[in-house]
């Protein structure tokens, strides 16, 4: 993955302009942070980058492939969207396994490894609906990074994490960057 180009991205919801003619090029191997006041469109931009919304105008391309024209979603992407939990009736490992079965590119051992590295007990059978906010956030990050995606979009990734958890996530993300995962787009 060489670059992500956002061209004239405009999104309007109920006659309110959320994204107003955004132009930007995200380059390979860098970490980007989005900051701004509440409701200024940070999350919406992440959703647009992930292919989860349709733009009213403009387009977003990954290495020349335009979202919703050439591809529906980026080929290799990991995302964490704020306030979106995994399936509450399953434990953490089952949730990740269900997700991993779609692409089928990682093993159970790798899932367990990610869970351990992020600070969650892979053997914990507690259902996700009984998880604390911090545990849910860690699990969300685990699902985003477990398949070593080329692009990582994290929306408020440190929400609910204690100081130790924040440091652990930071270390993990930097380590992934060094291993060659190309993009991180994060905000906090």
């Amino acid at each position: 993955m060489e670059k992500i180009i956002v061209k004239n991205a405009t999104k309007e919801i109920r006659k309110k302009i959320i994204l107003d003619n955004i132009n930007y090029t995200f380059e390979n191997g860098k970490i980007y942070g989005l900051s701004g006041r509440n409701g200024c469109g940070k999350t919406m931009l992440l959703r647009a980058l992930a292919g989860l919304i349709f733009l009213n105008e403009g387009d977003i391309s990954y290495d020349g492939q335009v979202i919703h024209k050439d591809i529906d979603f980026p080929e290799s992407i990991g995302i964490v969207i704020e306030n979106v939990d995994l399936l509450g009736q399953f434990d953490g490992f089952t949730n990740l396994k269900l997700l991993a079965e779609i692409k089928n590119i990682i093993t159970d051992e790798e899932i367990i490894d990610v869970l351990n590295r992020i600070g969650l007990d892979a053997g914990n059978k507690k259902k996700v609906k009984h998880y604390s906010l911090g545990m849910r956030q860690k699990l969300a990050i685990a699902q985003a990074i477990m398949e070593n995606p080329e692009v990582l979009l994290l929306d408020e990734p440190t929400n609910g994490l204690d100081e130790d958890g924040v440091l652990k996530i930071r270390e993990l993300l930097l380590e992934m960057k060094d291993r060659g995962v190309h993009y991180y787009t994060s905000k906090s």
Binding site: I13, R47, A50, G51, L52, I53, F54, I71, D72, F73, P74, I77, I79, I81, V84, D85, L86, L87, G88, Q89, N95, L98, L99, E101, I102, K103, A140, Q143, E147
Partner: protein, 234 residues
């Protein structure tokens, strides 16, 4: 295989439903079953099944949309295209659909079983009314299931809806047929041999499986066009 996972579940349901049908009907061959085999052998019977499957589409889409607020987007971004959403949500979604199918079939078979004492009643005229009533009831059963699932665990919702469905259908039909008792007509037994009946029963189950497949295809197509026009999260 494109629909491998779905087919796996569908055949499971087909086997279970066949088993239930046989259990219900086999022991008392003489009663057999105008309300069962012949029910399905008539256009109204198929109309009922087809309508049920068409009507399932809406609640199923509701499930899909609900799942998007429960981590469905994590499934979505791993799928390659919009039409593969169902496959991406396969396990969770199909489980919900199948639970509804099981509930429906169990309720239906249970209803027929309980109605056996009132085996002879006028079908020709009233069968369509019975079909529509059962269809409407089951549709609300589906909606109730979704509602219960939002309040309780899946298992509790399943048990609740099973009880509601079975009770509701039984009471409804009991009242209906007693209310129309004067119009009861004793029906002659079928001319088919038992073997042919079971063969016919098997064919009916295959048709049910085909209808289930049709439903999934239909559901996926509708979902595709629906999502093409709509943002996943806005």
């Amino acid at each position: 295989m494109k629909y491998y996972n779905n087919i796996k579940y569908i055949f499971f349901i087909a086997i279970i439903s066949t088993f239930v049908w046989y259990q219900v009907y086999q022991p008392k061959e003489l009663l057999d079953i105008y309300i069962g085999i012949r029910f399905l052998s008539r256009p109204a019977g198929y109309l009922w099944f087809l309508s049920i499957y068409l009507l399932y589409t809406w609640p199923c889409m509701g499930i899909v949309e609900r799942k998007f607020s429960e981590g469905g987007i994590y499934y979505l971004v791993r799928s390659k295209s919009h039409p593969s959403i169902l496959r991406a949500l396969n396990k969770e979604l199909m489980l919900s659909i199948i639970k509804m199918e099981v509930v429906k079939l169990t309720c239906y078979c249970g209803c027929l079983f309980l109605l056996r004492p009132f085996k002879s009643f006028h079908i020709d005229i009233h069968i369509l009314g019975a079909c529509i009533r059962m269809m409407v009831i089951m549709y609300f059963v589906c909606l109730l299931q979704i509602y219960f699932e939002s309040l309780f665990s899946s298992t509790v919702a399943f048990i609740l809806i099973f009880m509601v469905g079975l009770f509701g259908i039984f009471i409804g039909d009991y009242i209906y047929y007693h209310g129309f008792s004067k119009k009861i007509i004793l029906l002659a037994s079928s001319n088919l041999t038992m073997h042919l009946r079971y063969l016919w029963l098997g064919i009916n189950n295959i048709i049910i499986v085909m209808l289930m497949l049709l439903k999934i295809l239909l559901l996926e197509s509708i979902l595709y066009f629906h999502l093409k026009k709509k943002d996943f999260i806005a």
